[in-house]
Amino acid sequence: MRHLLLRLGYALALPAVLVAVWWLASDDSTDVYRPPLRTILETFPDVWTGDRLRSDVLPSVLRLTGGYALAAVAGIAVGTVIGSHRRVRAVCEPVLEFLRAVPPPVLVPVIMLFAGIGDTMKIVVIATGCVWPVLLNTVEGVRAVDPVMAETARSYGITGVARLRHLVLRSASPQIFAGLRQALSVGIILMVISEMFAASNGLGFTIVQFQRGFAIPDMWTGILVLGLLGFFLSVLFQLLERRVLGWYHGRRASTRRSP
């Protein structure tokens, strides 16, 4: 119990101090661009009503989910194929290295050319940006399947789909998750800027509208919402990762204790 209290104290102390400092330091601020925290928090419930959440946050999240899921499926599938064949990998490697190195945001103007400015454009942008980290990490993971495990599977007749499911994908899962984590932050960036570029709703669109209309406290609340969304998604991701990669972290911890 005391232990728990101590941990809670550690977790909450600094955030509380920071919020207090922000509150006090900004309280009598007259700078238009840095409104008092009090004002921002008072504005918050007025701006982010249930309607707003439905009309702006939900579309953003749906676009992100769609594009991200598309990228995850395509990246893992193609990455598994490339990673399992040495020659295919050699052929694709230079092209993939180049495509991965293209900063994803420059995709927005290109994809706008043929996909217009609707939801399709945003989903395609998010998917094309997110697919590379997933794909390349999957290639690495699949390539690195332990030869002894591979032989074990062969000698027990574990082949085909079962081999893919029980050996290849499981053994590559730590790398795949590393790729998915990178892809998540790329996805959020692309979600926001594709909406800033061209949209009629969404978080990125709304925040830019506030900024252009000099609704500064509203803009600050928008930044807070984006921050909360990023935090929330990362917590969600960590929960999923802990479930799927529990064995991996457990094994690492156990080898660390006894080398």
Partner: protein, 299 residues
């Protein structure tokens, strides 16, 4: 049961040719426990992998119950030296044991029965729900053995399974394997570089030469079937047998210098064809009628 005929394996890659196994011929009868022993790096593992269908031999063939082995045969189970890398760390112990059975298409009830039975046989009934990496090395190798047992193989191939565990665990595991063999009556081929282990475990010991590998001698171990660590290892007969095998292996190491070029090795091999091997055997055990050496296999 298991026939190895004129087996030869040459590794080729990046401009180098390595002849790991030259010409191996021997048989293992049904229900036998045979140990293969030889100097380190003599291609024991290559041989076993060819027998398990994991490697394709360059020449010769392996027959299992009269049928040529081309891929992993269904009635064979493999236990690897690297237990830590042969069990899947993302599966619990019971799942590891169960996976090959699922692949075999067995029903759920039957699978559960086999898994429980196998884990009980190796003394790990309590560890079913643990992950392999939560267990000690010896226990992990027990899990690998349980997985092999549950598979109900007619032939069990074991590749230096105890090379990486500590001495006490090793003794326990040796007794476990011998016990399981007597209980279940399967054919076991056990590869090791440890002479004591080979003599203690085997009903027959096949001594291999240094690389490139040929069969140097086959030796029947005439120790009683009931063996235990305490008495068997101090028995005079045990000492005689292990001394004999030891001398054979020392001679094998001296036999062919590793620096030799392939051409001279070929010439050497031709020069010491069967007669010389016989001469060596006789020279090594002068006036010891108790050591029965099987005649070299006919080609």
């Amino acid at each position: 049961m298991l026939d190895v005929r004129g087996l030869r394996k040459v590794y080729e890659g990046s401009g180098r040719r390595v002849e790991a196994v030259r010409d191996l011929t021997f048989t293992v009868g049904a229900g036998e426990l045979v140990c293969l022993v030889g100097p380190s790096g003599c291609g024991k593992t290559t041989l076993l992998r060819c027998m398990g269908g994991l490697l394709t031999p360059t020449g010769g063939e392996v027959l299992l119950e009269g049928r040529k082995v081309t891929g992993p045969p269904p009635g064979t189970a493999f236990v690897f030296q690297e237990y830590g890398r042969s069990l899947f760390p993302w599966m619990r112990v019971a799942e590891n044991v169960e996976l090959p059975l699922k692949q075999k298409g067995l029903g759920k009830a039957r699978r559960r029965e086999l898994v429980t039975d196998a884990l009980e046989s190796v003394g790990l009934a309590d560890a079913a729900g643990a992950y392999p990496w939560q267990l000690s090395g010896g226990m992990q190798q027990r899990v690998a053995i349980a997985r092999a047992l549950a598979y109900e193989p007619r032939v069990l191939l074991m590749d230096e399974p105890f090379a990486a565990v500590d001495a006490q665990t090793r003794a326990d595991l040796e007794d476990l394997v011998r016990g399981l063999w007597r209980e279940r009556g399967m054919t076991i081929l056990f590869v090791t570089h440890d002479i004591d282990e080979a003599v203690y475990l085997g009903e027959r010991v096949i001594v291999l030469s240094g690389s490139p590998t040929v069969v140097r001698e086959q030796l029947t171990v005439d120790l009683p079937a009931e063996r235990d660590q305490l008495h068997t290892r101090v028995a005079p007969r045990f000492a005689e047998l292990r001394t004999h095998v030891y001398e054979q292996i020392q001679a094998a190491k001296r036999g062919i210098a590793p620096q030799d070029t392939p051409e001279t090795q070929d010439a050497l091999a031709k020069a010491d064809a069967p007669p010389k091997r016989d001469a060596l055997v006789k020279a090594d055990v002068p006036g010891d009628p108790d050591v029965r050496t099987d005649p070299p296999p006919s080609r």
